[in-house]
Symmetry: C2
Subunit: 233 residues, 2 copies
């Protein structure tokens, strides 16, 4: 798609985890010819889960046909699991997209819209098991591709995810240029970025700390699964 305009839309919803969106937006914004749309119902500032406020650029109603749709995650994802305006927007947008994508718990939103049924996908480690409730095969990898669906795992995986998407859109050469421009040569200070590598006691402590919240998320996922089953009947 080099030389053509590439329209990328990222859903900017209240109480999102801002880095789920801002990291891919930084990568996508460096793709030659990319036109980035930050999408929400209105153009009012949207506040992240920790209070960083970002301005949408385009409403759902005004959104042009997109080449890529990307749904980030974060606590506000729970509200969207039965938000028919958002889910219907995603279904309509995805129908025209070359790539239908998500970061973190954004995959649960795509799944609630019925857009991942029968696909392999990933999600934040704390919630990836919930994908199976929505007919999605959970894959414990950082970036998962299945046909035209590309999903990233938790938060910071949005960088690896977006470079993968960039490579798909404009090739390995430009994706590598973007990686070098962004000096993406990570040096994490600890072996603690995944339950696979973190001290088990650390993972268990976080699981316990988040247990109530994860159960709220699970209830929303179950309701979405019921709704999806009724819709498909």
């Amino acid at each position: 798609m080099i030389g053509e305009k590439i329209r990328v839309g990222l859903v900017l919803f209240p109480e999102l985890t801002q880095l789920d969106l801002t990291a891919p937006a930084e990568v996508f914004g460096r793709i030659p010819g990319a036109e980035i749309h930050l999408l929400w119902k209105t153009l009012d500032p949207v506040s992240s889960d920790r209070g960083l406020r970002i301005l949408p650029t385009t409403t759902f109603a005004e959104c042009p046909e997109l080449d890529v749709i990307c749904v980030p995650g974060g606590p506000g994802q729970i509200e969207l699991m039965d938000d028919e305006i958002t889910l219907q927007f995603l279904r309509t947008a995805a129908a025209h997209c070359k790539l239908v994508t998500s970061v973190c718990t954004g995959s649960l939103i795509l799944a609630a819209a019925g857009l991942l049924a029968g696909y392999r996908a990933t999600c934040h480690w704390s919630s990836i098991d919930q994908l199976s409730l929505l007919g999605v095969e959970p894959i414990h990898e950082r970036v998962v591709r299945d046909r035209n669906r590309i999903t990233g795992a938790g938060v910071t995986s949005g960088i690896d995810f977006a470079l993968t998407v960039a490579a798909d859109l404009v090739g390995h050469q430009i994706a590598q240029e973007i990686q070098l421009q962004m000096e993406y040569d990570p040096a994490p200070p600890y072996q603690a970025g995944s339950p696979r590598t973190a001290p088990p006691a650390l993972t268990e402590a976080i699981r316990q700390k988040n247990a109530t919240f994860i159960e709220q998320r699970r209830s929303a996922t179950k309701r979405a699964a019921e709704h999806l089953a009724n819709t498909l009947e």
Copy 2:
């Protein structure tokens, strides 16, 4: 500092590279007791180099005493190199700070304010050599600490940088929790994140593509160096 309020200020200036700010903001926002201030001259939306608009929370004039000041980088850094309002704000804020920090070419701004003279520091790989013009010892590492100065290299190094800052503020245990919550277990798709690892032809191509811009930056650095020398006389 666990249990106390920790005030962290990030400078949100026009034409910044948004990920230089949003990645550390995501980490800092997860520090228990942290109060995050996005600082600029006014509260109007600030547009990044690629058009993402973020709202400041606090003006320079209204800024409380901070525990940490963090200056991101990006093309708009050039404008700030002789912006006495910003430089004076940084000097005043830094005087009270436990940690004086930057990401990417933000270190050139700190240096222009005279806040890195005689210190070791890092910067984006394309511009790190310019630090020496401002009396700073350039260190080609991803995160560099010298006394109470902590600087990060280009763009994505803001994650490694911010986890290092978090560890300094609240200890290794909480920094590791944040790393796990953010699933920071990077898997870059290419060996292309640094001139050290990237194919030399790729680095050279980017150097040539950016040559004019880097020379603009160098001119601003030289002017800042002259101004700094006059101020210190």
